[in-house]
């Protein structure tokens, strides 16, 4: 085992492995035993619901909380609380809308990646 020979032997083995993997993938795809592109599927309906609801609640809480503290500080008891909470609600809707749009874009991209692989599975 001399030093200069080692990498070439390794790379020959790697090339061979690559070829074998390619041919295996082709064969598997032709027979339909391997899905086009396997990717982790980290999106459940429950997860989405949780994502959206915490986004909304957090924005309302921050808006209301900020108003409460400022009211206490400036002595304008309910005014800023109400105004900033309204802004918080708006920010919540905004955030939910933004996340929903991103989810939609991801779903669209996924649908393009793997057509007809699984037609809507989490629709509950």
């Amino acid at each position: 085992m001399s030093a200069p020979e080692e990498p070439s032997a390794d790379s020959r083995k790697l090339d061979d492995l690559g070829r074998r993997l390619d041919s295996f993938e082709r064969r598997a795809q032709a027979t339909g035993t391997l899905p086009k592109k396997t990717r982790a599927e980290p999106n459940s309906a429950l997860g989405s619901a949780f994502k959206l609801s915490t986004e909304f609640v957090a924005a309302v809480a921050v808006g209301g909380g900020m108003g409460w503290v400022l009211d206490d500080w400036l002595g304008t008891k309910p005014t800023l609380f109400l105004v900033l909470m309204a802004f918080g609600v708006a920010a919540g809707f905004f955030g939910v809308f933004r996340i929903a749009r991103r989810m939609q874009a991801e779903d669209a991209a996924k649908a393009k990646d793997a057509p007809a692989l699984k037609p809507d599975e989490d629709e509950d």
């Binding site: 915490t54 957090a58 924005a59 809480a61 921050v62 920010a91 919540g92």
Partner: protein, 254 residues
């Protein structure tokens, strides 16, 4: 007989193991510190031992270590671009820590540090402050243009800017509450089902057969909790890279 069963919230009680009080501060080494330390040790063992005998064609353990690495690297590249890879160590560390805290929490008799809001909030604040510091360092005061989205008519700005500020400030809250609430809800649900099994089983006679349903429920919920544990760690990593993207690239999105 019910009074002998531990309440569903008892699993979240923090118990000091090595009491330590410094100047009025309770710095005791508690069960939550223990399980966080175990999570760090677990991550370290998983990654270093996995790569200790690294081979060109990886074995099972090595490929698990490499897959988690690649998975998060791809997530960071997708959400924060190539420049975001500078923060890969931070995001990968957060992901692995949260993942192992969540997974170790599923072991019997263990404790889940991520079921405490203060732990998740500290992690979220770390992300939040990093975003602000990085944004200010890279863009100076121009960073605050984050609150002024492009293409908005001027008369709308008095409404849009407060909304953007509130939604920016709510990030650490939604980030921490999401993780904490998921862990808290899942573990409580498991214990509640377990209580049903014991109380039904103790009813005696034909009534004991009623224990079978909550028992099946526990099996299903445990499986779900494994999914949630991994998913929430992933969500934490994704959101961290999305927030860092704001700090790095301001308005352009990846």
């Amino acid at each position: 007989m019910l009074h002998q069963i531990a309440g569903p919230m008892e699993q979240f009680v923090i118990k000091p193991i090595v009491p330590l009080h410094v100047g009025g501060l309770d710095l005791s080494f508690s069960n939550t510190s223990l399980w966080m330390a175990l999570a760090v040790a677990g991550v370290t063992i998983f990654l270093t031992m996995g790569m200790a005998r690294a081979a060109l064609v990886p074995g099972r353990w090595q490929s698990m270590a490499e897959m988690t690495y690649e998975f998060i690297a791809n997530t960071v590249r997708q959400n924060a671009g190539e420049a975001g890879m500078k923060f890969f160590p931070l995001i990968f560390t957060l992901f692995m820590f949260v993942l192992f805290c969540n997974l170790f929490g599923l072991l019997p008799y263990s404790f889940t540090p991520t079921s405490h809001i203060i732990v998740t909030f500290a992690l979220a604040m770390l992300v939040f402050i990093t975003v602000i510091v990085v944004g200010l360092l890279r863009h100076g005061l121009h960073f605050f243009s984050l609150f002024v989205p492009g293409g908005v008519p001027g008369w709308l700005l008095p409404i849009i800017v407060p909304i953007e500020i509130i939604s920016f400030l709510s990030r650490p809250i939604s980030l921490s509450v999401r993780l904490f609430a998921n862990m808290l809800a899942g573990h409580t649900m498991l214990k509640v089902f377990a209580t049903f099994v014991v109380s039904r089983g103790a009813a005696g006679g034909i009534m004991s057969a009623g224990a079978i349903l909550p028992l099946l429920g526990i099996v299903a919920v445990t499986a779900l909790e494994f999914l949630v544990a991994a998913l929430q760690a992933y969500v934490f990593a994704v959101l961290t890279s999305i927030y860092l993207n704001d700090a790095i690239n301001l308005h352009e999105h990846h």
